[in-house]
Symmetry: C2
Subunit: 342 residues, 2 copies
């Protein structure tokens, strides 16, 4: 990454250069043959040859932030995980339409940028990009005193991927009786942190908790957002006919699953079919939150939902192993989701 | 724009819906035939048919923020201009490599999102996108109490454009004796606001200033960043052989012009060749800032530099009119810029 591609706005020049030096090799490691490095200086360049073999390539784009998960990172002064969060969140957001990542751009802003801190965040981003096969094509760091509170930081990412038009997954094939399978989340992922932080007193974050097998709340909250790209790619390789995918983010199953449900379809989710991770029970109990609200805010252990014909279930299990759980089915309905047993 | 494409994280659900309703028609107005609406729900979809006629299409991407210009907008409670700033800034950043905009994504975050305020910002973004022929393909709004200071807001944009590989403008044709022409800026654009706000006491922003022809400082500071797409597109249409383009942003001519200078080339800029806008003189005087620092932080009235062979000057003048000024020339050098006469 040339210095100019990774621009730093308003930052102390020396601090900006130091951060750039610290992250350079990690960023370069994400480059592939499609990145035309050294040609330009302002924007990142990516050759469309990367998808020249597709009949009707469609670009899929998504921008997102990690929300107030950054506040947990700030309290624990641990900056190596949130880069993975933002990349994996974005990877999953385009994956649900069947898209493969091409490249990623990031934005990190704070009241005062510390070179080591920023470099650690960007190295996390670069690592997750490399794992996803995405080039980290550009980025921006901004120092904005007076806008951000002291010691706080925001992290935003944009992903661009591609899918062949006739392979777009859009839920249109979903029908009554289809099964809803789930891949587990690693925890809160990047949603619900405002509510979680209200429920769990900050002073308790560094204490080992019996309810969490003696893990610290802070560490459990910071567990990085999982990418489901490897699993979904495997399913596509073996020819599983995926009717729909739902990435469970803010709004939980209630808001995210309907995005992919066609008119006339609803969904039943059976809450007893998987084990809800302990962190959610702890948040619910300490925050005195109703089960319904919990399912409206958190993923509750469901990271990615896969909707398929019943006949595909065994192939899916053989392909991506035991962690996949059947959690519900498609029913006649008005694009709403019922969570049963809560 | 479907509600789901324009996701709101952590926002009061009713506020999020209201903001979405308020901005919907403006966003839809940016759509063109290449936007595949209604097909998906998580990421925006854009057909590569938009550039199917290019021999070797190369995607050009850039992410940026508007910096602390948002603080001026907040003080004046005026939210209709900064959307234009972020889009036009990004448009210019990829324009310097010869790229045409395809689509744009935005991110708006604050401690508390006000639907009317966010909708006003996004309508500005949509208006500038429409003017640039870019689809506003997606966006995210985030409410992050505790990260942002009360009443403050950050605005981030990502643009994706395309250029045919053999038409990439990379400065490699620049040679000694080439002329440096400038298109004027509309003011500060989106850089140097931290320094400007330190120099000009906030209490004075709403007073008409004799030095500014009785305009208010706040209004002059908020003047939207210009897009140079129409002018550069016209030059390309009439066949001007552009050797290099430099978008003058943070770092001024000193840092931005060298990005496009090939090895062995330097540049002389003659400060007397154009009239420096009054706002910069006011900042310099009130802030007791050296001329050299001013040229290191601000654009000083130069929005876009165009580097061409001397013979192209008259065609450029005939094509884009009188506002273009010759401000310097390319000399032997080590990729550094001299500003003469300051």
């Amino acid at each position: 990454m040339s210095e100019s591609k990774y621009a730093a706005a308003g930052v102390d020049i020396e601090a900006g250069k130091k951060a750039t030096d610290l992250m350079k090799s990690a960023v370069k490691a994400t480059y592939n043959d499609h990145v035309l490095a050294g040609l330009g200086a302002f924007g990142g360049l990516f050759s469309a040859k990367a998808f020249a073999d597709m009949a009707n390539p469609v670009l899929v784009a998504s921008t997102d932030g990690v929300g107030t998960k950054t506040r947990v990172a700030a309290r624990l002064n641990r900056w190596d995980t949130i880069g993975h969060d933002i990349v994996n969140h974005c990877v999953n957001d385009i994956l649900v339409q069947g898209a493969q990542p091409l490249f990623f751009l990031d934005y990190v802003a704070s009241s005062k940028l510390e070179p080591e801190q920023i470099a650690t965040v960007v190295r996390g981003i670069a690592g997750a990009c490399q794992a996803a096969g995405a080039a980290l094509l550009g980025g921006e760091t901004a120092e904005m005193p007076g806008v951000y509170q002291e010691g706080e930081l925001d992290l935003v990412g944009t992903i661009i991927g591609v899918v062949d038009q006739d392979k777009i997954i859009d839920g249109s094939q979903i029908q009554f009786g289809d099964k809803i399978l789930a891949l587990p989340s690693s925890g809160l992922h990047t949603n619900g942190f405002t509510l979680a932080r209200n429920a769990l007193a900050e002073e308790s974050w560094i204490d080992p908790m019996p309810e969490l097998d003696q893990q610290k709340i802070g560490d459990v909250m910071l567990a990085p957002h999982r990418s489901y790209l490897p699993q979904i790619a495997r399913l596509q390789e073996v020819g599983v006919d995926i009717h729909g995918l739902a990435h469970i983010t803010g709004g939980g199953v209630y808001d995210n699953l309907p995005r992919v449900l066609p008119a006339g379809c609803g969904a039943n989710i059976l809450a007893e079919s998987w084990e809800i991770p302990a962190i959610f029970n702890l948040i619910q109990q300490k925050g005195e939150i109703t089960a319904k609200e919990m399912f409206h805010v958190f993923n509750m252990g469901l990271g990615m939902l896969i909707i398929v014909d019943e006949e595909e279930e065994s192939l899916i299990r053989r392909t991506i192993g035991n962690e996949v759980v059947t959690v519900g089915e498609i029913i006649p309905g008005d694009q709403t989701v019922n969570v049963l047993g809560i």
